[in-house]
């Protein structure tokens, strides 16, 4: 198959007119990724402490 056929040229021309997705898309992606990573950090930070608290509440002495 040709390395640079008409289907690829079509995409190339479209990319020349607009090389990246519109700015709103990047803002939306950044916002969502920021939210997801904050949730991840929250879970990473507080879930072990929460489990420790539950364990302590149930009467275990194990505090490793």
């Amino acid at each position: 198959m040709a390395d640079n056929n008409n289907f690829k040229q079509l995409l190339f021309q479209e990319l020349q007119e607009m090389p990246e997705a519109p700015g709103q898309v990047e803002n939306g992606v950044d916002g969502s990724i920021g939210f997801i990573s904050h949730i991840g950090k929250f879970i990473e930070l507080y879930i072990p402490k929460f489990i420790d608290a539950i364990t302590a509440f149930l009467g275990s002495n194990d505090r490793n």
Partner: protein
């Protein structure tokens, strides 16, 4: 701009220019270790345009294409750690893109068939249309023709000729057998040629 912000901005630019020289798979490998958001930003810069234009081509609506591109990049972010490095990142991204758009089109069409049905087979289906005949269509005319054929046929042609996917890869994406994909490609080529001749019939009279 405070000195601290200036230094932060300078270091970020430095880091970005280093990442921009890396290959896709190197970026993914480093991302797995560091989860540095700048690495994902470079992946976004490299592929957002291609994904967006594919979404526009498939969905034929720029607003829907913008939403789809955003959803696709969020989906990719949550799955990038599972990406198998022996595959090509671009193929993986396009696979997610096509799957997303096809799902959306299936929901939109509901009972309608996304891919051309048996009744739409032209009489001369037995005649094989060479790749060359499709690939020789002028780019501007190709765009017109692609906008007139069913989205499913367009998707198969784009996967084959724009993204160089193998029959096996297309079959995996569409969850079909390889022989049915060969038939779909054959139908899509026939349809493309028929629409081309109908649309630009002045050239043939």
């Amino acid at each position: 701009m405070s000195l601290f912000r200036f230094i932060q901005f300078f270091l970020e630019r430095l880091q970005l220019s280093r990442i921009e020289t890396m290959t896709d798979n190197q970026i993914v490998a480093e991302y797995r270790e560091t989860f540095d958001p700048l690495l994902y930003k470079v992946i976004y810069k490299r592929y957002s345009g291609k994904v967006y234009h594919k979404c526009v081509a498939m969905l034929k609506n720029t607003d829907e294409a913008m939403d789809a591109t955003q959803d696709i990049f969020i989906k990719l972010y949550t799955k990038i750690a599972d990406f198998e490095e022996r595959a090509k990142l671009s193929t993986w991204i396009y696979r997610v893109t096509y799957n997303y758009c096809i799902d959306l089109l299936r929901k939109r069409k509901k009972e309608d068939k996304l891919f051309s049905s048996e009744t739409e087979i032209p009489d001369d289906i037995e005649d094989e249309i060479e790749d060359r005949e499709i690939l020789e269509i002028e780019v501007k005319k190709l765009k017109v023709v692609l906008d007139k054929i069913p989205e499913g046929d367009k998707a198969v042609l784009m996967m084959k000729y724009q993204d160089d996917m193998s029959i096996k890869e297309i079959a995996e994406i569409l969850n079909k057998t390889e022989s049915s994909i060969k038939m779909k490609l054959k139908r899509a080529r026939h349809k493309t040629q028929r629409v081309y001749k109908e649309t630009f019939k002045d050239l043939y009279t």
